[in-house]
Symmetry: C2
């Protein structure tokens, strides 16, 4: 049975609408789902009226650091069109409509690197870009991972790399993991890997 810490909801941390210091006067949707973008006209606490373009809040993606039975990390190198570059990342992907976070994490682990996990650990969730986005990201560590053939989506360009944890964290400390959410997942996982004697 997978172990899962369910205390992951962001709801208790959100300010109820009646306490909002800014007032929403109108809201226009600029971009359709799944990449919804809103442009609101807001009245600030100072009485200024301004336009604010942003992505609405909600769980958007899961990030998985897979650790194999042999104690290695499974990273990917992925082509990212907005960067015009290949970058090191952990397996990750969008939470689909109606999907549980853990189900989403298990699906991405399977699709992107062909992995199945014996045990899961939930790490602290975070907002990747609070100034322009309400997107919430949910990182996990997957332990006891076994690998089969990956099944990436047709338009995903992904290379799978199985690396010693020592090399993975050398890369992190050297600033070679340029993908911020993946780097943050690795930093959060470090203490747990050390506690288990894996690092």
């Amino acid at each position: 049975m997978p172990e899962f810490s369910p205390q992951r909801s962001f709801q208790p941390l959100l300010v109820p609408d009646e306490q909002q210091p800014w007032q929403t006067l109108s809201s226009q949707q600029l971009s359709p789902a799944p990449h919804v973008l809103l442009r609101d006209t807001v009245l600030t606490g100072h009485g200024t009226q301004l336009a604010y373009t942003y992505r609405p809040r909600g769980p958007v993606a899961v990030f998985v650091l897979p650790i194999t039975l042999g104690g290695e990390a499974v990273l990917i190198r992925q082509y990212r069109y907005p960067l015009r570059a290949w970058v090191w990342e952990v397996p990750a992907g969008g939470v689909e409509s109606g999907e549980e976070l853990l189900g989403s994490a298990a699906r991405e682990l399977h699709e992107e690197v062909g992995g199945s996990a014996a045990q899961w650990l939930a790490l602290p969730a975070f907002y990747p870009q609070p100034s322009v986005s309400g997107a919430a990201f949910y990182p996990f560590v997957a332990f006891g991972v076994t690998l089969q053939k990956a099944q990436p989506e047709a338009d995903e360009l992904i290379e799978r790399h199985v690396l010693p944890l020592s090399e993975t964290y050398r890369m992190l400390d050297a600033g070679e993991i340029l993908a911020g959410p993946s780097a943050l997942t690795l930093y959060q996982a470090r203490v747990h890997l050390q506690a288990r004697g894996l690092l």
Copy 2:
């Protein structure tokens, strides 16, 4: 004289256009500067044509962990409209047109918390959301910071908090720093603070 490590350019890490696995067929600008949003029609390596909405690549923001002469951290709590919440962050802000990264960091330190630094350390830059944004974020540690009155922009809602580093890192380890780029800045800074005997 401030100390600054200049090896910060992302250019060597970007894939030159002639090596792109995807071909850009057309590009439409959905949103004006400074929050440029593009919708490109691209031809993938598999011959599929698809629409990709993203923010173009480039340096966008700086993040500053200020350490006072007394060895304390200066954090802020800021209202973020996309989250409808107040979150803990480090002082940060957009790089203005023509501005050097260090100049931008010094300006944000001054504006948001009224700080001036004796010494600067550049940490590894990162992409906050590689799937949808080419934005590059540049974190710094500011040492020997002295504080005067903050001068936030009229529509910024910011509280300044001076905290012991032990409490700052307790919050980080407990998952209380929900703003991902600020959390990543703190994780990156940790080894440098330990090396100086501050943590």
